[in-house]
Symmetry: C2
Subunit: 293 residues, 2 copies
């Protein structure tokens, strides 16, 4: 029987992801904080639910895509949360990037009612969400993963089962350490290049194809050179992820000197008013440190 | 007329590079500190010179590939150095990675005798040197660059003219900032992953294809997982380059928090006896910081 699906959280990412499920003809119930964001999907045949609990009542699988740990906690275990409709067989899939520690607490609470929580954070941005080319990193019971995998394939191309509850979130945090530290290196290298008189485009071309190459260099360096600081991924969100990384590092007694440093430098970026710009705005902070302006 | 070529410094890199010039039938004179390293090329028809000056006397273009700034200074401006044979039209191409500041001083000294110094550091490792697929970053007079470009094409595939004297070295330093900071992120991310119970190979596969991807992740992370710390690029040499980077940064008043941090962490790697291992040995330092062992 076709699975009935609910989607909670229709921001830039969630809106596209829910839309892809609806296009694949899954019966869809939706809920989001500001109902205005639901209007397009409602016009295409989705059903509205007034609360996360009511959305979950109508569904076999509940997808969640909100911002931070407290947002997911409100949706899952808060008043009128999904947990009020939890029952054996229900599967909850959380696409938000949040704390793996809080994830395991919520998974345990749902498990008492026979409901499985899968953590399934994504990467690939709004373009990946729209085109169904996200990377999805999944933690939790593997039997539940197998049941929802066909639905995940509507949203992403690289679907990885990472291990027990929280492992998807932890893998996403690994991703974010790599992304943020590599970006820090790119920003620093370009500031060094400019300060020492090099032509930046020629420099990127000279070094980009070898051992210095990275996605961050190929994709963000040209934006830095062009002075384009519009967000692909926002400084504020990178900071949220770095806070989770440093919290998990502290709990697990893992010393992260580079991630700590990039968190501090992004704090300077926020202080300078770059919080809602893309992470490539770190370039401007390092440029100021080098007192170019 | 076919250019007569001299090559000074026949280490792992220089040996392969000189060999490629000889294979292309350029008349080759060689000199290196320990003559034993020259025997193979001498057997293939190269001429031996007892000093850099004598090598330069026999050549239209003198290539140098030694280790550090003082080594190049000895070869170029030291006793029996290339400068003793400097004359109008002679071109000296330095493939070593050294200080762009010292480079400009030597270029000025040679220019007084009508000889041009091109700084032309390479990247791509011993494999690139053997196969002629190096990246070569060139600074100095563009007319001299044009004259030697056909010879450089015997040794490398990505040949970039970077600008005036020192610009090749500065571009190589940009490369090394990128390489070392990205590697630091890879090491830290993998230690975080292992400490938090993830399967490392699965984690690399999950994150490697997207915004977290880099040459360092693709090439060094599997070595870290396999416990293979043999040198592709040695910690000691990375440290030499970072010292030059931080010296140039100080001279140019450029603040480099990330490069400073990676230099300090590599100092810990050297203290732990990993100086002659590959740069992926930084993984072991961060693992110790996380007290896994």
């Amino acid at each position: 029987m076709e699975k009935r699906v609910a989607f909670i959280g229709l921001g830039i990412m969630g809106g596209h992801m829910a839309s892809r499920l609806l296009e694949a003809d899954y019966p869809l119930t939706i809920h989001t904080r500001s109902r205005a964001k639901a209007s397009k999907l409602l016009g295409q045949g989705a059903e509205w639910a007034d609360t996360p609990a009511k959305a979950a009542e109508q569904a076999d699988v509940v997808f969640i895509c909100v911002t931070d740990t407290p947002d997911v906690e409100k949706v899952v275990t808060g008043e009128h949360g999904v947990i009020a409709a939890a029952r054996p067989g229900l599967i909850v899939v959380d696409h938000s990037t949040i704390s793996p520690i809080a994830t395991r607490v919520m998974a345990a609470a749902l498990a008492e009612k026979g409901t499985t929580l899968l953590d399934a954070p994504v990467s690939g941005g709004d373009v990946g969400a729209r085109n169904g080319t996200l990377s999805i990193m999944v933690g939790g019971e593997s039997s539940a993963f197998e049941q929802v995998e066909p639905l995940l394939r509507r949203m992403g191309t690289t679907i990885t089962y990472c291990g027990k509850s929280g492992a998807g979130q932890t893998t996403k945090l690994v991703n974010q350490i790599l992304v943020s530290v590599t970006n820090m290196g790119v920003c620093e290298a370009l500031v060094f290049a400019r300060k020492n008189g090099l032509d930046l485009e020629r420099t990127i071309a000279a070094v980009g194809g070898g051992a210095a190459g990275s996605w961050q260099l190929a994709n963000l360096a040209p934006k830095m050179v062009a002075g384009d600081f519009r967000p692909g991924f926002m400084v504020n969100l990178q900071q949220k992820d770095l806070r989770i990384i440093l919290q998990v590092a502290e709990e697990s007694k893992t010393s992260l000197p580079a991630a700590s440093l990039v968190h501090q430098l992004f704090t300077a970026a926020e202080a300078a008013g770059h919080g809602k710009e893309g992470t490539q705005a770190l370039f401007k902070v390092l440029e100021k440190l080098a007192s170019i302006h």
